[in-house]
C-alpha cells in the first residue's frame, strides 16, 4: 500500500500491521494529550506539585531527555568535527533520537509553565543572569540545529528525493553540516551546562549549590560531560531496541563498539570528576554552610545513601568499567547491561539534582517534603515516549535511517 514510500531494497512489515502498532501506541499518546489539555485548560492544580515542589517530575523528565538526547550532539561532534567517519552509520539515528528528545523537552516545558501563552517572555524579557534563560535560548536554538540535521534525512525519502530541489537541498545541507554541527556542539555545551547550572547556582539550597569557575558552578561542567558520556549509551540502547523490535541488525558491531568505547571513557572520566565533586561538596561546601552530609540522606522515608551509591557506583563506575574493557564491551549482554545502567544513572542524577534538591529541608525547623506525581503528570511524561516511538517507527519505515541496513540484511535474505 505504501510500498512506494519505503526505502529501496528495505523490507518492512505489512501496512496494516504497522498501523496496528501505531494505533496501540497512539492510544497512549492520546491519553497523554488528554492529560496535557487538562493541564492547559484547568491549570497546574492537575498535578501533585506544590509550593515545595515547584520543580518535579516534568523538570526531571526535561533534564533526563536532554541528557540522554545528548547523544546527538556528541555523536555529531565526533562525526563532523573530529571526523570519526564510522559514526556516519549511526548519526542519522542519533539525530532522530535527539530530535525526539528535544522536541519532547520543549513540549513538556510548554505544559510545565503556569502561563504557557506567555512562555515567550523568557526570550522577550530575558534575564541574562538566569541559567534558565540560557537553557531556553540554547535549547530552542539547538532544536533548530537538530531540525536542520534531520531535514536531509527526511528529504532522502524515496519520493521526496525525486523532487530535484529537495534532492539538492539535502545534498547541500550534508555539505554544510559541519558548520551546523559545530554550532550545535557549542549550543549544546552551554545548555547542557546551564541545565546543570540551574541546580548549581541555588545558593539557598545547600544540597544543590556548588562552587565553580567564573559564573559557572561545577554542575555546569558535570552536566555537559555526563550528557556527552551517557547520551551515546541511550543512542545505543534505542538502536538495540529498534533492532530487537524489527528483528534486524541495523548497525555493524564495529560502529557500536566504537561508540560504546568512547562512551565508556567519557563515563569513567566523568565519574571520577563526579566523585571528586561529591567529596568536595560533602566535606567542604555543605559543612561550610552548617550542614553535615547525613542531613541530606537521613530522616526521611525515601532519600537515603542508597541513591548516591546507585547513581555513582552502580550506574556510574560499573558501566564505565564495563565499557572501557574490551571483553566486557564486546559481550552483547554485558554491553547491554552497561548501557542500561548508564541511562539509569544519568536519569537518576537528574532526578537527584531536581527532586532531592527541593525535598531536603533547609530551614532547621522545616521538614522533608516527599511527592508522588499525579496521573496527569505521569501521562504527560509518557506522552513524549509514545510520540518518540511513533516517530521512530515512521522514520524507520520511510527513511533510509541506517545506511548499513541493506548490506547487513541482504546477506541474511540471501542465506534464507
Amino acid at each position: 500500500m505504501d510500498a512506494a514510500l519505503i526505502p529501496e531494497g528495505a523490507k518492512r512489515c505489512s501496512f496494516p500491521k504497522f498501523m496496528l502498532g501505531i494505533a496501540i501506541v497512539g492510544a497512549v499518546l492520546l491519553w497523554g494529550v488528554y492529560a496535557m489539555l487538562l493541564c492547559w485548560f484547568k491549570g497546574l492544580n492537575q498535578t501533585n506539585m506544590n509550593d515545595y515542589y515547584g520543580f518535579a517530575l516534568w523538570i526531571w523528565a526535561d533534564l533526563a531527555v536532554i541528557a540522554v538526547g545528548g547523544g546527538a550532539f556528541f555523536t555529531g561532534l565526533l562525526k563532523y568535527i573530529l571526523k570519526i567517519d564510522e559514526l556516519k552509520n549511526i548519526i542519522n539515528f542519533a539525530v532522530i533520537i535527539g530530535f525526539i528528545c528535544y522536541s519532547s523537552a520543549l513540549l513538556i516545558l510548554a505544559i510545565d509553565i503556569g502561563q504557557p501563552l506567555r512562555g515567550w517572555f523568557i526570550f522577550w524579557h530575558a534575564n541574562v543572569h538566569s541559567m534558565l534563560t540560557e537553557v531556553a535560548f540554547c535549547l530552542s536554538l539547538y532544536f533548530a540545529v537538530l531540525t536542520i540535521e534531520f531535514i536531509p534525512n527526511i528529504l532522502e525519502n524515496r519520493q521526496l528525493n525525486k523532487v530535484p530541489f529537495f534532492h539538492h537541498l539535502a545534498h547541500n545541507m550534508h555539505g554544510t553540516m559541519a558548520i551546523f554541527a559545530a554550532t550545535g556542539a557549542f549550543l549544546s555545551f552551554f545548555h547542557q551546562g546551564s541545565l546543570g547550572g540551574v541546580a548549581g547556582v541555588l545558593y539557598g539550597r545547600p544540597f544543590a549549590v556548588r562552587e565553580g569557575l567564573l559564573i559557572w558552578p561545577w554542575t555546569f561542567f558535570l552536566f555537559t560531560w555526563s550528557a556527552a558520556a551517557f547520551g551515546p549509551c541511550f543512542t545505543l540502547l534505542v538502536t538495540r531496541i529498534t533492532e530487537a523490535v524489527t528483528g534486524k541488525k541495523l548497525v555493524k558491531d564495529n560502529v557500536v563498539h566504537l561508540l560504546a568505547k568512547i562512551s565508556g571513557w567519557m563515563i569513567c572520566t566523568y565519574i571520577i570528576a563526579k566523585i571528586i565533586d561529591t567529596i568536595y561538596w560533602a566535606t567542604v561546601t555543605a559543612p561550610g554552610l552548617g550542614f553535615e552530609m547525613s542531613h541530606f540522606y537521613t530522616n526521611n522515608s525515601f532519600y537515603g545513601y542508597w541513591i548516591l551509591v546507585t547513581e555513582v557506583i552502580i550506574c556510574g563506575v560499573i558501566p564505565g568499567i564495563l565499557l572501557i574493557n574490551k571483553t566486557t564491551r564486546e559481550n552483547h549482554s554485558l554491553r547491554l547491561l552497561a548501557i542500561i545502567l548508564g541511562v539509569i544513572g544519568v536519569c537518576l542524577n537528574r532526578w537527584v539534582m531536581v527532586l532531592q534538591v527541593v525535598a531536603v529541608p533547609v530551614m532547621p525547623f522545616d521538614t522533608w517534603a516527599l511527592y508522588i506525581p499525579s496521573w496527569q503528570e505521569v501521562a504527560t511524561t509518557i506522552l513524549p515516549v509514545a510520540y518518540g516511538i511513533i516517530l521512530i517507527a515512521v522514520t524507520y519505515r520511510y527513511l533510509p535511517v541506517f545506511p548499513q541496513e541493506r548490506e547487513l540484511n541482504q546477506s541474511k535474505a540471501q542465506e534464507s
Binding site: 502561563q115 501563552l117 506567555r118 515567550w120 517572555f121 523532487v163
Partner: protein, 709 residues
C-alpha cells in the same frame, strides 16, 4: 491552472513563510499574553476615594476599636484603631477578617420561617407578625414565664433591651451563655456581694500567677492581653503559668507548672493555706474579711495539706510552697482564673479559690492588682411597664441557674418547660456541652426565634430567623468586659449600609414590642434603636458620638471591699471529670479558632495548623509516652461517656502524660464549605456537669480512652 504536486508544495511553503513573516503571528502572540493578564474571571477591584470609618468589633468579648478603610464607601480592610483605649492599635485575626463575616456565604439574607423542616423567606412584616402572634397567645394563656431568652451576655443596651423585653413581658427566664465575664461576676458576687465583677490590672502587675488563663490564647480582651504580655516582658514582671499543657501562654511564661487537669482549685486552696500559715497575708485587708476566716483557715489546713495536694495536682510540695511564697512576696501579685479563653465549663470553687489568693495578698483595688469593681451601670433603662399578667409571670421562679441547666432541664422533662425561646447572638446548639442533647431540647421547644446574622447550628434548629445586621452595619454600645481593668464603652457604628435585608436587633425588638402593643408597646416607647440608645446613655452619648468611645472608669476602684469566706469555708467539693477511663480529655483554646458565635472566618481557618486540622480530620494532642504504641498522625477513636469520634493523633511533648487535648471551635455542621465540616466539635464528647450551688456547667473535661481506628 493545473495544480500539480510541486506547485502545491510550493504554494504551501510560500503561504507558511508568508504568514510567518507577516505581523499576524506577533500580534496574536502579544494578544494572548495580554488576555492571560486580564482573564475575565479574575476580579479587578474598582479604585476610588479612600475614607475611613470607626467602629468597635463585637466578635468576641474583647471589644477592640477598629478602623475600616473604604474605597468609595466599600470597606476593604479592617485594622485596629490606634487611639482606642482597649486595644491601642493592633487587632486580632478574627477582627481583621471581619469583612469576611459581612459577605459570609451563610449570612442570613432575609427573615426566614421554617415550614416542614425547610426555611422559606418571608418579609420582616410577616416575621414580626408571626412572632407577635405567638407571644400574644402566651400572654392570653397567662403564661408569660414560658417565654425564655438566651443571649451571649447581659452587658450593653441590646442584651439590656432583651432583658427589658422579658421583664415587660413577664418572664424571669433570661439566660446568658457562660462567658469569662459571667464567671467573674459570679465569683465577685460570691466573695464580695452582688453587683460586683472583677478586673485584672495586668498592665501593671509584677507577678502574674495564671491558673491556666490563656493570656495570649484569647482570654479576656485578647489584644489588650497580648499587649500586657509584651509589656510585662519589658517591665520584667514575672509570669507563671499553671496548666496541663504547654500552651502558647505557657511557652512565653517565665515558668510553666504542669498540673493535673481539674485540680487547680485544690492547688489554690493549698496555696491559701500556705499564705495563712506563713502569715503572708495582708492584715490590713484581712480586716475586711467576713464569714469565717478562721474557719476557712482551719479547713484548708486540714483538707488541703501541701503533701496531699502535691499528689493530687502532680506538682511537688516544694514547688507549690516556693510558688505560693514568691507570689505572696511580690509587690503587685495577681492570680488569674479562667482556663483558656475563660469561657468554658469551669467551677465556681476554682474561681473563688484563686481569687481568694488575691484577697489574701491584699493587692485589691490597687495599681497592678485585682479590681473588685461594680458591674457596668452606665445604662439608664426606664422601668418596664408591666401589666398584671407580666407581674405574675415575672414573679415566678427562674427555671434554671444557667443556659446549660435550662437546656438540660428541657431535655429531661416530659412536660413542656418553655413555649417560646429567643436566642440572640449565641449558638447554644454548638457551644454548650453535649450539643446533641441541646438540639434535642430545641426540638422540644415549640417555637424558637433566633436573632442572628448567620445560618449556624442554632439557626438551623430555630423556627423563625430574624436576620441581624453585623457589627459593621449597625449602632450598638459595646462595654469592655471579661477581666478588663477599667470600663470603656465603645460605639459600634455602621461603616457600610446593610448588605442584606437585615436589621439592628434593637430595632427588631422595638418593632416586635410595638406590634404586641399594650404595656409592651409602652415599655418600648422609642421610634428606633438609635434614639433608644441615645436616651439610655445620657451621660456618655457626647463622648460616644464624638470620639467613638467613652472611658467610664480607669484605675483602681475606690472604696472598701468586704470579702466573705462563707462559700469556700464550706469546702465545696471539686468536680471530677465523668467516666472511668485512663485519660483525661480537655478542650484546647486556640487563638486562631473562634470557639463560640460566630464561627471562624475562612481566613482564620486558613491559618490553623495542619497539626490541628488536616483535610477534614482533626487531631488530638497526646504525649508520646501515653500513646502506647499508637503512631503519630495515626487514626484513633476517642471514646468518652458522651460519645466517640474518629480523630488523628498529634504527638506533643508539651502535654502532660495522661491528658489529651482537642481544639475547641471546630466540627461545625452548617453550610459553609470553608469553615464547617472540618474536624469534631469537642463539646460532643463532653456531657455537662452542673455544679451544685452555682448552677453552672463545670465539666472542664472528661475521662476518655483511645483505640486504633
Amino acid at each position: 491552472m493545473k495544480v500539480d504536486r510541486r506547485s502545491f508544495l510550493g504554494l504551501g511553503l510560500g503561504a507558511v513563510a508568508g504568514i510567518a513573516i507577516s505581523p499576524v503571528g506577533a500580534k496574536l502572540t502579544d494578544d494572548s499574553s495580554i488576555w492571560t493578564q486580564n482573564w475575565p474571571w479574575t476580579p479587578v477591584p474598582p479604585d476610588g476615594k479612600i475614607t475611613y470609618g470607626q467602629s468597635v468589633c463585637t466578635l468576641c468579648p474583647g471589644t477592640c476599636g477598629i478602623n475600616v478603610r473604604k474605597i468609595d464607601g466599600r470597606p476593604v480592610k479592617i485594622e485596629g484603631q490606634d487611639t482606642y483605649p482597649v486595644n491601642n492599635g493592633g487587632a486580632c485575626l478574627h477582627g481583621i477578617a471581619g469583612l469576611q463575616y459581612l459577605y459570609d456565604p451563610c449570612r442570613v439574607k432575609t427573615p426566614l420561617k421554617k415550614n416542614n423542616g425547610r426555611f422559606e423567606p418571608i418579609s420582616w412584616e410577616e416575621a414580626i407578625t408571626l412572632v407577635a402572634g405567638r407571644l400574644g397567645k402566651i400572654r392570653e394563656n397567662q403564661r408569660p414565664d414560658s417565654l425564655a431568652c438566651i443571649t451571649d451576655t447581659n452587658l450593653g443596651s441590646v442584651p439590656g433591651l432583651f432583658s427589658h423585653f422579658m421583664t415587660a413581658f413577664g418572664s424571669p427566664n433570661h439566660f446568658t451563655m457562660q462567658t469569662l465575664e459571667s464567671w467573674l461576676t459570679q465569683t465577685a458576687q460570691t466573695l464580695h456581694g452582688s453587683g460586683h465583677t472583677l478586673g485584672f490590672d495586668l498592665d501593671n502587675a509584677d507577678f502574674i500567677l495564671s491558673f491556666g488563663a490563656g493570656i495570649i490564647e484569647g482570654w479576656g480582651s485578647p489584644v489588650a492581653c497580648f499587649k500586657a504580655n509584651s509589656g510585662r516582658m519589658q517591665r520584667g514582671a514575672k509570669f507563671y503559668q499553671i496548666e496541663p499543657r504547654l500552651s502558647n501562654t505557657a511557652a512565653t511564661a517565665d515558668k510553666w507548672i504542669p498540673i493535673h487537669p481539674g485540680t487547680e482549685a485544690d492547688l489554690a486552696m493549698a496555696m491559701c493555706g500556705i499564705l495563712l500559715q506563713e502569715n503572708l497575708f495582708d492584715p490590713e485587708f484581712a480586716a475586711g474579711f467576713r464569714g469565717g476566716l478562721n474557719r476557712f483557715n482551719a479547713m484548708v489546713q486540714q483538707k488541703y495539706p501541701v503533701d496531699q495536694v502535691a499528689a493530687i495536682t502532680g506538682i511537688s510540695a516544694a514547688d507549690i510552697k516556693k510558688t505560693a511564697i514568691a507570689f505572696a512576696k511580690a509587690k503587685m501579685p495577681v492570680a488569674v482564673p479562667g482556663k483558656g479563653r475563660g469561657d468554658g465549663a469551669q467551677s465556681l470553687k476554682e474561681f473563688a479559690a484563686i481569687h481568694t489568693l488575691n484577697c489574701l495578698t491584699g493587692n485589691i483595688n490597687k495599681k497592678g492588682g485585682t479590681f473588685v469593681k461594680p458591674v457596668p451601670g452606665y445604662l439608664a433603662f426606664p422601668d418596664p411597664v408591666q401589666d398584671a399578667v407580666a407581674r405574675d409571670g415575672a414573679a415566678q421562679e427562674k427555671l434554671a441557674g444557667s443556659a446549660q441547666e435550662l437546656v438540660t432541664k428541657i431535655h429531661q422533662s416530659d412536660a413542656p418547660v418553655v413555649d417560646t425561646l429567643f436566642v440572640y447572638s449565641a449558638n447554644p446548639c454548638y457551644s454548650l456541652n453535649d450539643p446533641m442533647q441541646t438540639r434535642a431540647a430545641f426540638e422540644k421547644i415549640p417555637f424558637v426565634v433566633n436573632f442572628t446574622s448567620f445560618m449556624d447550628e442554632t439557626a438551623l434548629a430555630s423556627d423563625v430567623i430574624l436576620p441581624i445586621s453585623t457589627f459593621l452595619e449597625r449602632f450598638e454600645d459595646v462595654p469592655s468586659k471579661a477581666g478588663f481593668a477599667g470600663l470603656v464603652v465603645g460605639l459600634a457604628q455602621p461603616v457600610v449600609d446593610p448588605v442584606f435585608d437585615t436589621r439592628s436587633p434593637g430595632d427588631a425588638l422595638i418593632h416586635l414590642a410595638k406590634t404586641l402593643g399594650g404595656t409592651m408597646g409602652d415599655s418600648f416607647d422609642w421610634p428606633d434603636y438609635k434614639t433608644c440608645l441615645k436616651s439610655l446613655v445620657p451621660g456618655i452619648w457626647n463622648d460616644l458620638s464624638k470620639s467613638g468611645y467613652a472611658v467610664v472608669s480607669q484605675g483602681p476602684p475606690a472604696g472598701r471591699v468586704r470579702t466573705d469566706f462563707a462559700f469556700l469555708a464550706e469546702n465545696p467539693s471539686t468536680i471530677q471529670p465523668q467516666g472511668d477511663a485512663d485519660l483525661t480529655l480537655v478542650p484546647i483554646d486556640d487563638m486562631r479558632v473562634a470557639s463560640t458565635a460566630p464561627a471562624s472566618s475562612p481566613f482564620a481557618i486558613k491559618t490553623v495548623s495542619d497539626r490541628v486540622i488536616k483535610n477534614r480530620d482533626m487531631f488530638v494532642e497526646i504525649n508520646p509516652k501515653t500513646a502506647n504504641g499508637l503512631k503519630d498522625g495515626g487514626f484513633v477513636t476517642v471514646t468518652t461517656p458522651a460519645g466517640s469520634a474518629k480523630v488523628r493523633l498529634n504527638f506533643n511533648e508539651g502535654i502532660m502524660p495522661g491528658v489529651i487535648g482537642m481544639v475547641k471551635g471546630l466540627g461545625h455542621t452548617f453550610d459553609n464549605r470553608y469553615v464547617a465540616g472540618k474536624g469534631v466539635n469537642v463539646h460532643e464528647l463532653i456531657s455537662p456537669v452542673i455544679e451544685p450551688g452555682s448552677g453552672l456547667d463545670a465539666a472542664f473535661g472528661v475521662k476518655a480512652s483511645i483505640s486504633k481506628a
